[in-house]
Symmetry: C6
Subunit: 256 residues, 6 copies
């Protein structure tokens, strides 16, 4: 499994080919786990794992490397402040989103989950059970190539009823798919999850499910990632160990 070079300086990056159907994920050797070497545009990928497994890091690494190559990327936060996220990414991994934001290739956006939930509930009430949401409603400043929503769990707990949340998830996924973007949506689970989301609905609406495990072996934590489901093509069916270094995700090489 050859290592894909990560996080090159901006000048070294080439724009991606427009209208390609597939986008490499560009997170360490992740793409080599996929037969296509990339994920499909329009796909919504559920990223599930416990606290501290690196879900945000995985996404940020993908967004950063995408933007470096000329894509437009959006990180939609329902939890941490954009200034904090950028500070941490720069400090921990030297991923500097400032120049990318200035050149319009990246946007890091914060939405208040409670406000979103209240608005959605009012819309559903007003329209008698029907919900339509547009790009503006989710705070996107432009049509992105690559998106991360962090996290659906924060959104789920803000809703008053499971039913309205499910309707919101369905419409959000449809919207993301309609923009032809590659989307990662994050779900926080137990450390060794057997269900991959709060309601169980996200995992079968999603076009793919990636699970991050955090197992305790001899009082040490070991991380592993598994591609559980992928509609667009074949993938390795195994748990791949990883660590997080100052270059982000590092997978242990495995013969494919």
């Amino acid at each position: 499994m050859a290592e894909i070079p990560q996080a090159q300086p901006v000048s070294a990056a080439k724009p991606v080919q427009a209208k390609s159907d597939f986008l490499p994920v560009r997170v360490s050797g992740f793409d080599s786990l996929l037969e296509d070497g990339a994920l499909e545009r329009g796909a919504v990928i559920l990223l599930s794992g416990g606290a501290g497994t690196g879900k945000t890091t995985f996404c940020m690494q993908s967004l950063y490397n995408g933007a470096l190559r000329g894509e437009r990327v959006i990180y939609l936060s329902f939890e941490e402040e954009p200034s904090q996220i950028k500070k941490h990414m720069k400090k921990n991994f030297k991923w500097d989103f400032e120049p990318l934001e200035k050149t319009g290739r990246a946007a890091i956006v914060k939405l208040d989950a409670t406000k979103v939930a209240r608005q959605v509930e009012q819309l559903i009430d007003k329209n008698k059970g029907v919900l339509e949401i547009g790009m503006m409603d989710i705070g996107f400043p432009f049509k992105p190539d690559r998106v991360c929503v962090d996290s659906l769990s924060a959104v789920a707990i803000a809703f008053q009823g499971q039913e309205t949340y499910r309707l919101y998830v369905q419409k959000l996924f449809e919207l993301l798919a309609s923009m032809n973007t590659l989307s990662f949506v994050i779900s926080e689970t137990e450390q060794v999850p057997k269900v991959y989301s709060r309601t169980g609905v996200e995992e079968f609406l999603a076009d793919g499910v990636i699970v991050m495990y955090n197992t305790m072996v001899n009082n040490k934590r070991q991380n592993g990632l598994e591609i559980l489901k992928l509609r667009s093509g074949k993938h390795q069916k195994a748990m791949v160990p990883y660590t997080i270094t100052d270059k982000g995700f590092q997978f242990l090489a495995r013969a494919k």
Copy 2:
């Protein structure tokens, strides 16, 4: 266990014998697990398994091979868009549903689970607890020989109450049975399921239950399929390992 030839070009396929009571499933060697070598027309078969076990692939392989031999087949989606499904089936397995749709032998139909749930709830309200549904209500353009409903789980979560959902499932099963079609209905479960559906009602209303397991052994996933229940006849009582290749399902041969 002899391999049944799969996915022959359309021209090579012969029409099935009309009025036969049984239809071969035509998914790799699956039929050899059945004493009858086929499943009964009018039977509703519950297909249960976790995310990524290949439930959709199993059904599509059966529908495609049926249509190739002259049957009329319908895939009723409550999740993925028909265009996406067709694209993925063609890309991953070379199963091209376009010519089959043009010649009227296949239909891939999408219904909105939320809308269906709301309509059913209104019907039940209006008719004081009684529900009657017809072929048109479930979006069937013709009376099919073979059907896949993907998935009941998506329908279940769209209903506001378990009771109305159960009534819907009961009536849906009766309708499918009345059309003399062989029906697969999909239920998404945990990776190693002990219950086979959301409400537990599907599994004893169904005429058969097929379970797909996704077990983690030495950090590798292994898939196995089991026929748990079948009213129409005897079957192998064991978990049969399988992989999914670019030809679809492949069972490991076992002496019967």
Copy 3:
């Protein structure tokens, strides 16, 4: 454990002795597990097991062999259509209920669980919490010697409240007992059950509990039957392995 001859042609069967207090079950060697070699008339026996364990087959074998010997038997279905059941029994085991129905010795009746539940709820409402049901209310065309109700699970899910269901079960059991019939009532459980019914009430209202297990050993299913409780007399306290052949249930012989 001597094998009791099964399923003799009708002409070979002798009428049972009238007014006997006990009826042999006549399912392979099952009766040899009982000190009395038979079950008591008036007893309601709960038959619990997972999907595909053969609960319906067990009952049908008992009913068929009883009817062959001159008894009157009723199979009350809340799930499968009578025509289907008869077709499957004839195909799989050569048990032909048609001549038995014609001579008035067998009846296979279907009731709609939802309708029954609604009627019972209305009766309870009308009579302020009191419920009386008669033989006609449960669709019995005659007073039977042997009965199977398949399944209580289907009835349980049709009720809107647990309380009304429990009252119904209590009254149903009383009615069956009052007719001096030997009754099997089926409950669908998990494959290796620890509770034997949906509400837990059936198992202590019943005069006996028979449990059917479906355990996975080395990826093969193994079936075992256990008599867990029996008010009328002593019985073997062990799990007895069985298979289902084209002659129905076959127990592995064990010294008593």
Copy 4:
């Protein structure tokens, strides 16, 4: 552990000493598990175990042997018909309650759990949360020395709310204690219970808790009895194996 002679013919029994504070249980060697060799009058003993563990048999053996020695005993059934119970006890163990009933030493009474629950709920409603019940309210024809209530589980499910049931249990226990009777109250649990009653309240209101286990070892059931709690004195703290023969309970002897 010496065997206490069981079930002598009536003529051979001597009247118990009046006003004794303790009553031997008289179930095989059970009394030898107790430092006092007997249980205290006024004590309410919870008898918990799964279906088929012999809870009713244990009680009946105690009642029968008590009545034989001149006590007055009552069996209060919320489940089985008195005629059936008597028939089974006579058939299975030769315990004939008829002569005991005729001489006024035994009464086997049936109450309808649903009716009792409705009456109690009305009383509580009428008296604004206060409940008083007397000997007549629970159908006792006389003040007994020994009582069995079979089962609290049947009563529990008949109540509409846990709160009213708890109040009823509390008052029932107080009433039984006030009559200076030795009372066994039965609770049906799982086969290897970890909680001993439906609501968890019975086990700490009771003066003693006896648990009956039904464990599966090598596909054979093994029964064991444990005295878990006893306010009146010390007792063996171990699981004592037992079988049920045609003489009732038989404990395997253990050095005390």
Copy 5:
């Protein structure tokens, strides 16, 4: 671990030193498990364990030995009658509370949990969510040095809502603390508890948590006690085996 002499005759006991901040527990060698050799006045100690673990015995031993040394002690029962408790303590352990009650050093008080719950609920209703309770409200005839409340579980089930119960527990703990008494409050749990109270709130409001385990080893029960939490000082962090003899609790000696 030296044995502290237990249960001396009244005449041999010396009055405790007034105004001391700490009180020895005086239950066999328990105090040697504590760095301070005693528990703090004003502390509320939760005593959690399954049925039959000896929670009441532990408290009674502490109260009795305290009273013998001149303290004033109160046992507040929500379950057993005072006359019964005294009878059992005298019979089983020769702890005679009668002379202590006559000399005003001990009081054994019974409160009806249901009545207390109703009163508290009315007070909260009347005062719009605010609750104040005084010494009289909990039936204390005098200000005690040492108290046992047996049991909180009985109180918890008498309340109609968890919220009002929690408020009551909070106020009860504050009241007990304000009297500078050493208080044991009993909670009935499973035999090998992982949570230590019904609502989970008692264990972090308490100043200490003592857990009593009842584990089954080779079909024999083994008892062990653990001090899980203690705000006032250090303690042994291990499970200490114990038995209950006719002298009450006996810990197996362990080097500290």
Copy 6:
């Protein structure tokens, strides 16, 4: 892992450098588990563990050592009385908060969880779902460098609905972050937790999660601490054993 000197007398402490972005935790060798050797100002750290694991001690040690070096610290109690906490800290660890309070460097504040919950609920009601809270609302006498909230669990149970509690937690975390303080918020869990808070929301709103385990090995308790999640930087991924001595937390040294 070098030991950081703990709990020097006040005179020996030097004021911390103002405006530093990171603050050492100063709890035994804890800081050596962090790549930065400190935690970030503005971070909210969830401290989760069972009763008796030392959560309060950990925080108090950090606050005390911070105040000794010139920081201003606040301990916000929702459980124990300030006078008790101070007494116990002085007695058990010789941490004397009195002089620190007098010089304005420490404040130990008690709030009534029930009152806070009622106020928050009223505010939310009044402002139609919107909640704003300020420094005064949480009883802070000054803007602190270091804070401990003990415990969120006590607050959680005081709320009538999960939704309002979640909103409160979110706003509390935002407020703490806005003050540029290093905040520890305590959550009481099971002894070997798999979820780290009552609602599951705290753990993904927090900037870090520290878990304290209390495992039973050979009947002895062993404590271990794990940093599960930390947004600001890398940390050791293992369970580090610790004991609590009269100097507070002591970690067993491990090569980093």
